[in-house]
């Protein structure tokens, strides 16, 4: 019997979400395969997924309190965070000293912080003449804050993607891939299907959106149920996730939605979390998942055809990047969530009908499913766990003679190309698009419709458009604003209805904002920019006209002013009488900018009698901007051919004579600048000719 000394003890730490827990379990499996006598201890937080998952695997679980690091440095939350972390480190120290592990394996996230820091503390204090090495595994292409900070304390770091390499010191980092549990890698389809009592002709669809669930997928699949009802052989397994917050409670929301369906579905099972997920996956014909690093790679390892719905608006847009990478190698079917107008306003959603169509398409096409599965398998990395196990054992200087020393295949370094070409922050993305198109947003009305040739200048147009649409759902108005601009710049026709709905949406802003002078949730700048976007989109049909009519009565002056400016871009179109009278009505507006723009626009739309009549009141107006508008209305009138007749011309001259103009001299005269400018243009002409 081995003494306590000879048994290797390893601490696994990480958690919060299952995405941090499952890789550790996979590593533990691989390690136990190499050395069956290893004893494990899992250190996690009480509120994490580990409480549900780890004990079922037969691993001991202890807790060290910890919490996520808040964003703002000088805040009450930061203070609370530091205090909790302090106690967490104390907990972890106690655990370390009693358990005396040979190594700590951390998967990142705040759950692993206490143990990692405790090990660092021991190292600094050099207590017990033994150092506990720390092995960190990073699952994402863009490493989280915890791992980035803890890297300096780690003995070795393993990353899943080669893009993450740049974040860590190269001397101790290696690409190892993402470890997947054995039950995923070698699924026994027959056994699983028998266990679930499925017959060979049955179609098994597994839907899950991560351990915490995904509202979009949950709602989407339930909405899709009516369209899938005519398939008697279809069995659906839906793991809706454990999220139970104030805003969204997964199970309740799903149940409520199920009630509203016309017929209750048969062959449909819904659970919160599937502990035996590998069995379901083994038996599955098709899955619908999110694009989290873990889920994707588990699917790839298992070689399953999948419909992937990435979560939009994540920092760095990581899920979309991961997913597109796989789509490029034809390993998955990509399905984007779109902003839609729901009960809570604008949210990301998936159309049930479209999803059903996609599912049916794949179920009816076993050939395509096979292709997807093969490509997925090729993309999957089956040996990551063993690679990590080898590394860990090397770190604790143990003999690895029991395992196959056959060199493991090199990890697939799928460097995500998309992560590096386009900036991910909304403002930077918009500025990049502006630079590529050589257009400035403020010049929207002058520029007019974006031409097809211009759009060709943009790389990856569909992604930029998707990004713009996704931004419309953001909480921060500044990001929504950038989303509107991007949609305008990329001339995304299909989002026109959404934009018009946002323009006319009257959901009020928060009470504090309203007290300070704000009006609606879609703030003034957003509404104004939507109208500018309409200029770029160049569409002018009934619904746009109706929206503009509505905008002419908007409480915010810049919206009215922009609407009037937009109308000038389309002055040649026949408009409804209501529109023309609405423009005339704006001339009486109290706001001077709107008044001026209204006069100018009316000059393009009204009959000469009306234009001269409307402007008559302002001939002697003392305010400069109003008189400028009046003059522009006359200029507009004169520019319209065949509209003026002699009588009107005489009337115009008469009006001009009554116009208030202090002196005739038009401009200040700068001989120096004028001469310079003249020479400049002469040189330009010469170059041109």
């Amino acid at each position: 019997m081995k003494t306590r000394r000879e048994i290797i003890r390893i601490i696994l730490t990480g958690g919060g979400s299952a995405g941090h827990v499952t890789p550790l379990l996979a590593i533990a499996e691989a390690l136990s395969e190499a050395n069956p006598t290893i004893e494990y201890l899992f250190v996690g937080v009480r509120q994490g997924m580990e409480t549900q998952v780890v004990p079922r695997k037969g691993i001991k679980l202890r807790y060290a309190c910890s919490r996520g690091m808040p964003e703002r440095v000088f805040s009450y939350e930061m203070l609370r965070f530091l205090v909790i972390l302090f106690f967490g480190i104390a907990n972890a120290l106690r655990i370390l000293l009693s358990f005396r592990p040979k190594i700590i394996i951390a998967s990142g996230g705040f759950s692993s912080a206490p143990s990692v820091f405790a090990a660092a503390v021991l190292k600094i204090l050099s207590i017990g003449w033994w150092r506990i090495p720390v092995y960190i595994h990073e699952q994402n292409a863009t490493p989280g804050r915890m791992n980035r900070f803890a890297a300096r304390m780690a003995s070795h770091i393993g990353v899943s993607h080669s893009t993450a390499l740049s974040f860590f010191p190269s001397s101790k980092t290696k690409v190892v891939g993402y470890p997947v549990r054995v039950s995923f890698i070698k699924p026994d389809r027959q056994k699983a299907r028998t266990q679930l009592q499925l017959s060979p002709e049955d179609e098994y669809l597994v839907v899950f959106g991560g351990s915490q669930g995904a509202r979009t997928i949950n709602r989407g699949i339930i909405d899709a149920l009516p369209f899938l009802a005519n398939r008697p052989r279809l069995h659906i397994f839906h793991a809706c996730g454990t999220m139970s917050g104030i805003e969204y409670n997964a199970l309740e929301d799903c149940r409520a939605r199920l009630q509203t369906l016309p017929n209750q579905p048969t062959n449909y099972k819904i659970v919160e979390y599937a502990h035996d997920l590998p069995i379901h996956l083994a038996a599955a014909d098709l899955v619908v998942i999110r694009a989290g690093a873990g889920s994707l790679l588990e699917i790839c390892a298992a070689g399953l055809p999948a419909i992937v719905i990435p979560k939009a608006n994540l920092p760095g847009d990581s899920q979309v990047a991961n997913a597109r990478e796989l789509e490029k190698s034809q390993a998955i079917e990509l399905f984007f969530e779109e902003p839609q107008w729901g009960e809570e306003g604008l949210i990301e959603a998936v159309s049930g009908e479209a999803l059903a169509a996609s599912i049916v398409n794949l179920l009816d096409n076993p050939q395509r499913r096979a292709t997807l599965a093969e490509a997925a398998k090729r993309n999957g990395d089956l040996y990551a766990a063993q690679r990590i196990a080898q590394e860990v054992l090397r770190l604790i200087k143990k003999d690895i003679s029991q395992t196959n020393i056959v060199p493991l295949p090199e990890p697939i370094t799928n460097s995500s190309r998309y992560l590096n070409t386009l900036p991910t922050t909304p403002i930077a993305l918009r500025r990049t698009v502006e630079n590529l198109l050589n257009v400035r947003w403020e010049a929207a009305f002058d520029h007019g419709m974006i031409e097809a040739e211009e759009l060709k200048l943009l790389p990856d147009l569909s992604y930029i458009r998707y990004r713009g649409a996704a931004l419309l759902v953001n909480d921060n108005w500044k990001n929504r604003n950038e989303g509107v601009k991007i949609l305008g710049l990329t001339r995304h026709h299909s989002k026109l209805d959404l934009l018009l709905k946002m323009l006319t949406d009257r959901t009020p802003a928060s009470p504090l904002q309203r007290r300070l002078g704000g009006d609606f949730f879609q703030v003034g700048f957003i509404r104004r920019n939507i109208i500018s976007a309409l200029a770029f989109l160049g569409i002018w049909d009934e619904r746009v006209q109706a929206a503009i009519l509505f905008a002419l009565k908007d409480p915010y002056y810049e919206v009215r002013s922009a609407a009037l400016r937009l109308l000038r871009n389309k002055a040649d179109l026949k408009c409804r009488e209501t529109l023309v009278s609405a423009i005339r009505h704006c001339i009486a507006d109290k706001n001077l900018e709107v008044k001026s723009e209204a006069l100018h626009t009316f000059g393009y739309y009204g009959s000469p009698e009306d234009v001269l009549d409307a402007g008559h009141a302002y001939l002697l107006d003392f305010r400069v901007i109003v008189r400028i508008g009046l003059l522009r209305s006359w200029q507009a009138l004169l520019s319209r051919e065949r509209v003026m007749n002699d009588v009107m011309y005489e009337k115009l001259v008469e009006e001009m004579n009554s116009f208030l103009l202090p002196s005739v001299s038009v401009q200040p005269y700068f001989p120096l600048k004028e001469q310079y400018s003249r020479i400049h243009s002469m040189l330009l002409n010469r170059e041109g000719s």
Partner: protein
Amino acid sequence: MIAELASFLMSQGEPYGFLRVLLYISVRGIGAAMTTLLIMLIFSPIIIRKLYRSGFRDQQRDFDLHLAKSKQGTPTMGGIIVVGAVCICMIFWGDLSNHYLWLICSAFLFFAWLGFIDDRAKLRGGEADAGLSRKMKLILQTVYGLAFGLFLFYPATTPFPINISDTIGIPFLKPAAHGGFDLHLSWLYVVFVAFVIVAVSNAVNLIDGLDGLAAGSSLPPLLVYSVLAYILGNVKLSGYLLYPSLPEVHELVVFVAALAGALVGFLWFNGYPAQVFMGDTGSLSLGGVMAALILLTKQEFLFIIAGGLFLYVNITHVIGDRIGLNYLGRRIFYRTPIHHAYEHLGFAETKVVLRFWIVAQVLALLALATLKLR
């Protein structure tokens, strides 16, 4: 220097007695003003040329299509010339043994340096938003403000008479020395000083947006405070007008006069169309001087009237920018800073500048009118 020279020569004997004239504050003040004016007029062309050639040109923020284009390329950092002229003049005309002079010079130079770093960073960055971050600027200004406050507070270093060293000037209230009431703040005074310095030093920065606006609008408040300094420094006058007597503060008259002369000389070139801008160097240093001025003469609240124009611009900017543009997502004023709003409404730039000058002058006269109201 002139003062020392004059008193030295006078001690030599009778023939030099007429030099007593040079010791009078008014004479030294006007002399200083003339000197700086001459320096500006003579040396500015050369320095402007140099600035232009060295590439110190204005980088415009490019959101407003119409305004931005026309001013790009004008040499900036003209504040250096102003600072240089005033310093040279002070060495010559100033009484270097006076503590007030050193205090106000320190404020002048510190903020000039702050503005200089900001300007240089903007030039290197190539756009209007580079330069010291707002937070960094605020921290530096607060630190300086606290140091200044401590200096004014401790009896060992304060130039004020010790019994009133921590009072602030309440308008219309007679000080204790003349039968009224003094508000003592003790250590809160340091915080108050820091607050005033941070608040006022940014005042001029914002108004520097049109040709001749900053320089022309700062002249009236500066002159008001120089009059005050003259009164406060003169025992008889301050007693007559019921102001607390601050001996030695009259030296500030010379400084402000020099600064005024330099500003007039600067306006010679800065008027529309401008040949040079003062940049952050100039506007921050002007703001710093004003802050120090109102603190050293202990008439802080008079600035609400005398510097009312600056308050107007700054308050509308805070409301329009912080609340409007950033929080509410809509404009509250047509444009901020408010002088751009008037331009947006169609007023010519020169008209806006002139009207602002008129307002500044009227407010200054109003402030002076309150002198007798005690």
